[in-house]
Point group: D2
Chain length 136, copies 4
Amino acid sequence: MNADELHRFVEEHFPQAQDFCQVSQLTDDSIELHLRYREAYLRPGGTLSGPTLMGLADTAAYLLILSRIGPVALAVTTNLNINFVRKPSAEDIVATGRLLKLGKQLAVVEVHIALAATRLLVAQATVTYSIPPAKS
Amino acid sequence: MNADELHRFVEEHFPQAQDFCQVSQLTDDSIELHLRYREAYLRPGGTLSGPTLMGLADTAAYLLILSRIGPVALAVTTNLNINFVRKPSAEDIVATGRLLKLGKQLAVVEVHIALAATRLLVAQATVTYSIPPAKS
Amino acid sequence: MNADELHRFVEEHFPQAQDFCQVSQLTDDSIELHLRYREAYLRPGGTLSGPTLMGLADTAAYLLILSRIGPVALAVTTNLNINFVRKPSAEDIVATGRLLKLGKQLAVVEVHIALAATRLLVAQATVTYSIPPAKS
Amino acid sequence: MNADELHRFVEEHFPQAQDFCQVSQLTDDSIELHLRYREAYLRPGGTLSGPTLMGLADTAAYLLILSRIGPVALAVTTNLNINFVRKPSAEDIVATGRLLKLGKQLAVVEVHIALAATRLLVAQATVTYSIPPAKS
């Protein structure tokens, strides 16, 4: 699937998520998502909340894997490990995912989350998805 | 801080979070949070969303650490690792946090998230917080 | 497999590992391994080395999973996450593994590593194994 | 410290480790280590053992951090998360570490481990070190 097909897949299956972020780049083994800042993502202290960043990392991994295996809504996250390295200020951010492994049962994606304007790293995550066996 | 003081601290500093979950038990090195099911936490397929579970694990760790070090709003998550072991159905869940380490710089909490009714495990997380140096 | 069968399996398939540690307890969903202190495990500063603790956590997970799925030498570690919470002094240690999930494709084990004498926790790990599809 | 100073530091403080691997590249925020294959690193099945890869990831992070903060033997690993993405065959490997964060209390390094000949990725790790407070 290309970026347009991914967007249509999200619209259809995850309607509440379609405003969450946009696919700004997609290659064979990488993806870039752009998250537009909203007040709802803030936590006290004026930084973007942890769940917002974790949700973005998870979404980057999911869409990158889908773009390779096709519209299988059933792939599920089995592990997510995230390191918060800098407090993200209240601005747009980008998540860049790189496919480390795409096996029959498991896929692993490394995600870097940075401020959109300066590309300063705010978090790094590694996300593992379990891929359902192909039906025959 | 005891459970009541924790609730008041959350009300004051994280007003939008006070309806998220309730402290149902608190000891010297453990905490139990109860999350009441809401439709907003669902993702397609009828399971509780990953960010909901990750936010709950993070909150359990934060409140347990606060109960020990006092109302220091500045403690920040540095690492969160979560394993999703079963799809959580649309029902109330409980998170049980256990303090593994409370050092001067770092605190580590292990969190088990289970269905409230059956105590069936749905996720396990380990959360590390950085503790700001005490001012002297 | 019970503890004796596990030991025989290790002797046969991992001869160099059979002196590494002993299974001191085994139930349906838990295992306890005892590691006898040796100088070879030390790193400068007189503490047990990280790779020794990581190897012990991995072994605990592996043997617990094997005891449930039978002698499948091909199960492989896909993820290991470890938190070092206290410097382990030069003494015997025990690792306690608990099965969090045993699925068709993945198994997840939580491991606590403590000093054998005082049961003081020194590390906590979560280990995920991929289970090869059963041949039909 | 540059690569030569790092090697001398290892020789002096970790004499048993000096044959383990060599620093083949060192920049301000990255390091490359070369591990020469030895039979001792094998596990049954002819693949490099998990503890060998975990020890290599940890060493890469340690030396990269030391090169920046100076010869502080007391920096300690607090968290190591590793994903094994391919079985490493019995050959030389390289570990490439990148500094994600260097704070006053914590440093985070991302490590990619690949076969030296083909640069095929076999594991990815994220390693967190706690940095002891500077004495004043």
